[in-house]
Symmetry: C2
Subunit: 421 residues, 2 copies
Amino acid sequence: MAVGQYQWSDVHAVAGIRLATAAAGIKYPDRQDVALIEICEGASVSGVFTRNRFCAEPVTLCREHLTLADARYLIINSGNANACTGDAGMAAAKNCCDEVAALFSVSGNSASGDSVSVDSVSPESVLPFSTGVIGEVLPAEKIINVLPELKNKLDGNHWHSAAEAIMTTDTRAKGCSVKVDVGGCDITVSGIAKGSGMIKPNMGTMLGYVATDAAIDKSLLDELTTEVANKSFNRITIDGDESTNDSFIVMATAKAGLARINSKSDEGFAELREALLHVAESLAYEMVRDGEGATKCVSVDVLGAGNSNEALKVAYAICHSPLVKTALFASDPNWGRIVAAIGYAGIDDLDPKAVRVWLDDVQIVENGGCAASYTEEAGQEIFSKEEFCIRVDLQRGQSREKLWTSDLSHEYVRINAEYRS
Amino acid sequence: MAVGQYQWSDVHAVAGIRLATAAAGIKYPDRQDVALIEICEGASVSGVFTRNRFCAEPVTLCREHLTLADARYLIINSGNANACTGDAGMAAAKNCCDEVAALFSVSGNSASGDSVSVDSVSPESVLPFSTGVIGEVLPAEKIINVLPELKNKLDGNHWHSAAEAIMTTDTRAKGCSVKVDVGGCDITVSGIAKGSGMIKPNMGTMLGYVATDAAIDKSLLDELTTEVANKSFNRITIDGDESTNDSFIVMATAKAGLARINSKSDEGFAELREALLHVAESLAYEMVRDGEGATKCVSVDVLGAGNSNEALKVAYAICHSPLVKTALFASDPNWGRIVAAIGYAGIDDLDPKAVRVWLDDVQIVENGGCAASYTEEAGQEIFSKEEFCIRVDLQRGQSREKLWTSDLSHEYVRINAEYRS
């Protein structure tokens, strides 16, 4: 189940990036479940990760590797999260990185006849990612077995198959790509992502990979990656569960021929920022539309808050309320559940009489109760839509925050009650 | 659906308390949906209420009345919450109080022949309570119509019918009663409650009424009522939604013949406290067992926390996780979801390797992963039970808190998707 239609549209190749997939048989036989992404030398790579204290072993290793070397390879599997797997899980993740590094370290012969490495790839330049069931050690050998196949299949046009390989309970592969002109030079931003459950801000059980051929200073890209994650993947919530494995990686290959961006005032920064935001927001929105069991995709827009935290508290309370989510599923404009959530969101001095609520453009709450102009028919019409907006004006200040969420359906319960079986 | 069997056992009459019910036709015809409770003169009455900022109009009025007069009558309806109903809702609640007061103010004739009130009941000594759909003004006239019938039916033995009349989505009436001996004198504590959805700490859409024939100072009873609520109704969570209407009332009629309890060191205080706690905890636990769509009733016991707040954060994260709750429904010991919830509970410096988790007596997590001694069969056996305990030791300190929760089932979605239809 998913909201509306989704048409995969071409994800443009990004010079300097090649991708490959293979069926390693991690959870299911004959399913493409491993993806390898190769990044050219000289690229800048940034990542942001889950804040879950029980973060997965590959996340810990990934964070460490990013500080030690320039990333050259991403090895990603679905079907097993390799989370909470302790020393054995860490060894499995390291093993995969070691083998990828060895495979791509080309050996040659020196003048004296000794074997030397002429293109050495260190294990620290390989980043591991896993998604799937928590608590089972990754079967590293299954991944290692398909590495030669992956190496042979690397191709700049394999974004779609990579998007498919990283899916778990997703029902559709998610990709987005834009080209923007910067002073006569095209730069490309292309991305893929997976995630449809265990999704809440600070990221869900999601993986996102976005590449651009722009050239950008590493520390500036770090800053931009955090900003983009906060405005996209950290603004969606499906079930309020924050995963152990979330990772979002941005790669800038510097192949577009545009001058390197070293500061926010440099040519191309504004365009690149906008393109990255567009791609990340599109991918995040598609995650909600493909949320587990989702039949609705709703934005919750809270304005008039005293500060950003207040706005988020109210938006989260609405998005996480099982009663609001089941009312969404039922297409029942039961606005009492919305105001109840606002009331317990944790703003102690909230004035209920000041709060105003709209469903799209239909006002439903004013003066502490139902809006005088509201009719059940008008509310019903909005709630029957697959995508709409719940807008809340607290009338306390100028801050505003928006989240996206899905509903709570029978299908959500079925998926999550049957997930391991 | 509800967990296990529940046998209503006799709720003892409490001297000084009489109850009656009637069918007012508020939401459904021919359903007993109004209860009246009469409290003798000279009783101490305390109440605690929802902290939802959108609290219902009767809750606002109730709070006010409790400060203005000694409570003599409680008028309670199901089928309509009279919440977020503004001035019209407040007028309806006041109207009910006025009419109850008028009905019980007995008129007589003075020597000069003038009509005077000989037993005057003020509107402020009447406390109104409503539970049901939010956002519709209470039809006060329906309640007023049945007041004479209620007056005629008042009886000290009508606890069961009162428990039935206040139900909404509850599947069973909930009552509990104990007698304790204090220095050769029996005191009785009897209570009823309703609630099975919109339940979380700070109380759910719940109503609880407990009476005792002990005599106790009003301010001491206020303190005791808050303590008892915090240790019972404020320790359960079904869906994390905090209602607009929660109210818990304790009445002490002073009819047992025991000396008035004026301080915590007075004879009978310890016994009364224990009896009140027992009754309130039993009623709260029954709410979880009768949680909307519940097939499991699970206690989450967090120990070794640095402070009470930490313990509660972890316990709430587990109790509110839709993924944990669907795993409970599926009887699937998917412990990865439990540790993921612990990991995102908000303890920034949590050491995952120190965390230990048990299902009843089966250890499932240690050293950041699956316990060496754990077997899937052992976990499966516990998860297949209808009632068990998830115990978490954070190994950070000495604080401990326990919550009770239910699972997330198809039936929960069905009930809440169909509630208004």
